[in-house]
Amino acid sequence: MIALPFEAVTAVLVIPIVAAAVLAALPGYRAAARINVLASFLTFLAAASLFVTDRPETGQYLFVDDLNIVFIVLNTFVGFTASLFSASYIAHELETGRLTSANLRFYHAMYQVMMFGMNLAFVANNIGLMWVAVELATLTTVLMVGIYRTHEALEAAWKYFLLGSVGIAFALFGTILVYLAARPFIGEGHDAMVWTLLVEHAAAFDPALLNLAFIFLILGYGTKVGLAPLHAWLPDAHAEGPTPISAVLSGLLLNVALYAVLRFKILLAANPEAIGPGPLMMTMGLTSLIFAAFMLYRRRDIKRLFAYSSIEHMGIIVFAFGLGGPLANFAGLLHMVMHSLTKSAIFYAVGHVAQIKGTQKLSEIRGLTETHPGLGWGLLIGVIAIAGMPPLGIFMSEFLIVSSTFAVHPLLAIPLVFGLLVAFGALLMRLTSIAFGEPTGNTAPVQASYLPMYAHLALVFGAGLYLPSALVGWFQNIAGILG
């Protein structure tokens, strides 16, 4: 393996922070946008280099293993494309005057801080640190959601903030409980919060304490994953914030929280006496899936629609991980990656659509394939992908999830399939009215950046047909880790 002059991990953390500082200082928005893209790109490169460079030895605060590399790389990649998209997005926002350059300064800085928070959450080896990082990311997104200062935006931000804080509190309480459980066996101080040590000794921990901890953790972090009934903040936050942030929320922040949940699932699974986390996760997953599926029907706002579909897919993913076993875990991981890519691509398209049409109301967006083929067909492919149709990636993961579920718990497969079908109907109904029919609204051509959207879609398409064996091996042993 190659040895870089600097630690890839530290680079992943330092670049965003420095960039944040610079952006905070920088007035002009054009340069800022460019720097933002550049920084995100560098971060992505650093993260990608984790594949090839030799990993740093596991420290007390940071560490790298198979699991979080996947998350980091995905995170930084989507962060990069989102920054590309936002560059072309905010230009338009400035023209329409929804945002001032002062806002943008803040926006870019926060963007990088958020990236920092998420990366930190991934590489943190210390559950306390992970908690801090997750909350940092959350708070920054709260600020970004409220950035339009409209009544709706503030209301959404406020709701997000309050519910988020309660989530924060729960997660912290859970963390404390884990610490308490670990202390007798690992000793006081930081060591009792180092995840790797925790996993080693988990078998000896007090199961009752772990159970209680897990309940608080899954509620706390689950709030950010958007599991029903803790999802309330999610649709509004997606709908009212700037679209790049919606993309980042769906594509990344949910994954961060999910990652945390997974870490603790592993912890709990390592202890034989503790309750299996599986049933709980499966229940919450199915609930979210079916609930979101029904909620899709009466949506009138296009971004809220896809926000609910994010809830639905998070439900599927959590269900898959709850199901466990090599197949389901593999599928869950794949599904998560595919969902991030697809959903952010969809939001890229939606962002431009909303800008052209000057509205987010579904009823006022029609016949896109006629007027804006580039966006229209892109959106169509994205929705088809998110609906689990071949030959796109999500089809493969849903194939694996459903079939393995039916083989293991036939009865659970029925609500699963039901939920999928209901959601499919809703999405298709909306898609038909958005993409086809007599065009309405502004039909002027648009200067949009198709690159991020189609790049994602191309990846998803490729993954649907062919997965490189290296990646497969990688995922498979992660599935092994997840147990």
Binding site: I215, M295, Y297, I384, M389, F399
Partner: protein, 672 residues
């Protein structure tokens, strides 16, 4: 020589490439000619290769595995007797549709919404037939649905086709999910998705039963088995006519292929009741389908409904084959199975022909509503002749091919007394009666279709100004007509070509026919039953011709034209003709109230009032009323109810969180 399966994969690749090129070409003028030309070429090559395969080494199996799809098993493809036959159907259908499209495509107003998906659709169907593992199969299956969906909504401005597309794709993905469950069950927790693995496994009876039912849902919903047929009359007509031909004539067959592949090949031995279920469903489908068709006044919808009927017939024969096979009656099973396959081939021929005819009518008149057509036989003689051939064939009349498969089915039905199960003993003849009934109804349905559309006097100016269509379309139709006749008068060869498949799947085959004296067919023994299409054809032709000759020679030959007699009503207006509605009225009276809840309301103006009286007929599809509307309503209701959760206040959302926490704590307190 044996044809390697990879050659067909190349063909598929070529089709997909064509699709990409079509996207690139976009709206350019030459696009349709180029694309259809390409698909035509590719399909013809495939057909030729298949012919070579069938004559040289029908039984040969060739497999290939590509490092695609599911990582740990890859994407498997396989060419055996069964898939060869269906590949032939698919590619021939594709070729003929492309030929037709070269002419028909000129009238497309949005070619860029048709061409790419047309090629992709062909590719998808090829892939389904070639697939050799669950993942590849389902992927291709769904891809096929997706491509055809795009074609259905190609005329996206019309509300109807959008709705049709919606219903279609929802039903399709319902089907796919059931197939997915079926495969999941067969593959087991270890995930043995390759077909060979599934073949080797032995499944528990319960598993077999569940898989069978799931297959009924999955394949049935695509093939149009009642009551899963509702999408079919909406979707098939909505597409351009040559695509409708493909969907009705070919795609439904691909669905049946899936059913055969799983039930006859992969799955073990289903219990006998499953064959009974299949037979009864098939019978019901046949009768209901043709009754729907009789009630339709839209030409293409009528054809789509009659597809449902034929699917029913095919499923009945499949059920018989299953029943015989599970009782180890090899040759009887072979007979039934042959009947099924033969009918599959036939239907793909004449249904394509009929849809092409309908397409020609639409091109010429812009009308799909039969009530506005009529008299086209004068303006479109060639089309009408080809359409007539199709009508005779689909009405199961000798000497054309439809009759042969119908006849074989009846022969298979007559073997039922040897079955040990009393249930089947009783059911099969009754269903045989149903089949006869549906055949008779089909005859009247197509008398109606042809008579109203092509005969009589034109009911609208559009029909008056109609003129014959281009020669590509005509040649496509006449090739099909010729094949219908050929398969009708030389059935022996077809049957022999099918025997390797029956041998492989039901472990038996009927004696070779093509070397029988006078080319007649006697599936069991000549003393028991035999039919000779060739001689029947010759006899009819000769005696008709001879009679005409004699009469013209010995008696009169001169003709005088004058006004129609019509019991002394001089030059009545075309409105006085029997319409499609009035033609169907007696049958509607007899069966309508039972099957359609048909309601007739007559609005008769009082004496002296000059306004026209009108009769309005309302028929309902019970499948909608009893199954789908309630489901849709239920979902809508649930959606509305749950939607309140979008409008709670923060405090209420917090209470949800709170309650979740308390609930979990309680669980923890009570369970652990």
């Amino acid at each position: 020589m044996t044809i390697d399966v990879s050659l067909f994969l190349w063909a598929v690749a070529a089709l997909l490439a064509t699709a990409v090129v079509a996207v690139a070409l976009g709206r350019s003028a030459s696009a349709s000619r180029l694309v259809y030309g390409a698909t035509l070429g590719i399909s013809v090559v495939a057909v030729v290769m298949l012919m070579a395969h069938l004559v040289s080494a029908p039984g040969e199996i060739s497999m290939v595995r590509l490092p695609l799809g599911l990582p740990w098993i890859g994407a498997g493809f396989r060419l055996d007797a069964l898939s060869a036959l269906f590949l032939l159907i698919v590619n021939f259908g594709g070729a003929i549709a492309s030929l037709y499209g070269i002419g028909y495509g000129r009238h497309e107003d949005a070619p860029h919404r048709v061409l790419p998906f047309f090629a992709a659709f062909l590719a998808g169907m090829n892939l389904v037939v070639l697939a050799d593992d669950a993942f590849t199969f389902l992927l291709s299956w769904e891809f096929m649905s997706l491509a055809s969906w795009a074609l259905v909504v190609s005329n996206h401005r019309s509300e109807d086709s959008r709705r049709a597309g919606f219903v279609y794709l929802v039903m399709a993905s319902f089907g796919t999910l059931s197939l997915l469950l079926a495969f999941g069950l067969m593959a087991g927790p270890t995930g043995g998705y390759a077909f060979d693995t599934i073949r080797e496994m032995t499944h528990a009876p319960l598993t077999v039963a569940i898989v069978f039912i799931l297959m009924l849902f999955g394949a049935g919903s695509k093939a149009g088995l009642v009551p899963l047929h509702v999408w079919l009359p909406l979707a098939h007509p909505a597409a351009p006519s040559h695509v409708s031909a493909l969907m009705s004539g070919v795609m439904t067959k691909v669905a049946i292929y899936g059913f055969i592949r799983v039930v006859f090949d992969l799955l073990g031995e289903p219990a006998w009741w499953s064959s009974a279920v299949l037979i009864m469903l098939g019978g019901a489908t046949a009768v209901l389908g043709i009754l729907y068709a009789l009630m339709e006044t839209d030409l293409k919808r009528l054809l789509a409904c009659s597809t449902i009927e034929n699917i029913g017939v095919i499923f009945v024969s499949l059920g018989l084959a299953l029943a015989f096979r599970s009782n180890a009656m090899g040759w009887a099973a072979a007979l039934a199975f042959t009947a099924a396959l033969f009918h599959i081939v036939n239907h793909s021929l004449f249904k394509s022909l009929l849809f092409f005819g309908a397409g020609a009518v639409i091109t010429a008149t812009g009308q799909r509503d039969m009530e506005k057509l009529g008299g086209l036989i004068h303006r479109m003689p060639w089309t009408s002749f080809a359409f007539l051939v199709g009508c005779v064939a689909i009405s199961a009349l000798p000497p054309l091919n439809g009759f042969v498969s119908e006849w074989l089915t009846f022969q298979a039905v007559l073997q039922s007394p040897d079955l040990p199960e009393w249930g089947l003993k009783i059911i099969v003849p009754a269903v045989g009666g149903l089949l006869a009934f549906s055949a008779a109804l089909a005859a009247s349905c197509f008398v109606r279709a042809f008579g109203i559309t092509f005969l009589g006097r034109s009911r609208s100016p559009a029909a008056d100004q109609a003129h014959e269509v281009d020669r590509f379309s005509l040649s496509a139709m006449f090739i099909l007509a010729a094949l219908c006749l050929a398969a009708g008068i030389l059935p022996g060869f077809v049957i022999d070509a099918l025997s390797p498949i029956t041998q492989a799947l039901v472990g038996g085959s009927i004696p070779p026919q093509s070397n029988a004296p006078w080319l007649s067919i006697a599936p069991i023994a000549e003393s028991r039953s035999s039919y000779n299409g060739l001689l029947v054809f010759v006899f009819i032709a000769v005696s008709a011709w001879g009679a005409a000759l004699l009469v013209h020679r010995l008696a009169s030959r001169d003709v005088r034209r004058s006004a129609a007699w019509d019991c002394g009503f001089p030059d009545a207006r075309p409105q006085t003709q029997y319409t499609a509605g009035s033609f169907a009225q007696p049958i509607r009276r007899v069966f309508g109230t039972l099957v359609f809840h048909a309601r007739e309301t007559v609005d008769m103006p009082p004496p002296g009032d000059m306004r026209a009286a009108r009769l309005t007929v309302e028929t309902r599809d019970l499948a909608w009323d009893w199954i789908y509307t309630p489901i849709a309503r239920g979902i809508g209701f649930a959606a509305i109810r749950l939607n309140r959760l979008q409008f709670l206040t923060i405090r209420q959302y917090l209470s949800l969180v709170f309650l979740a926490l308390v609930a979990l704590l309680l669980v923890l307190a009570l369970w652990t």
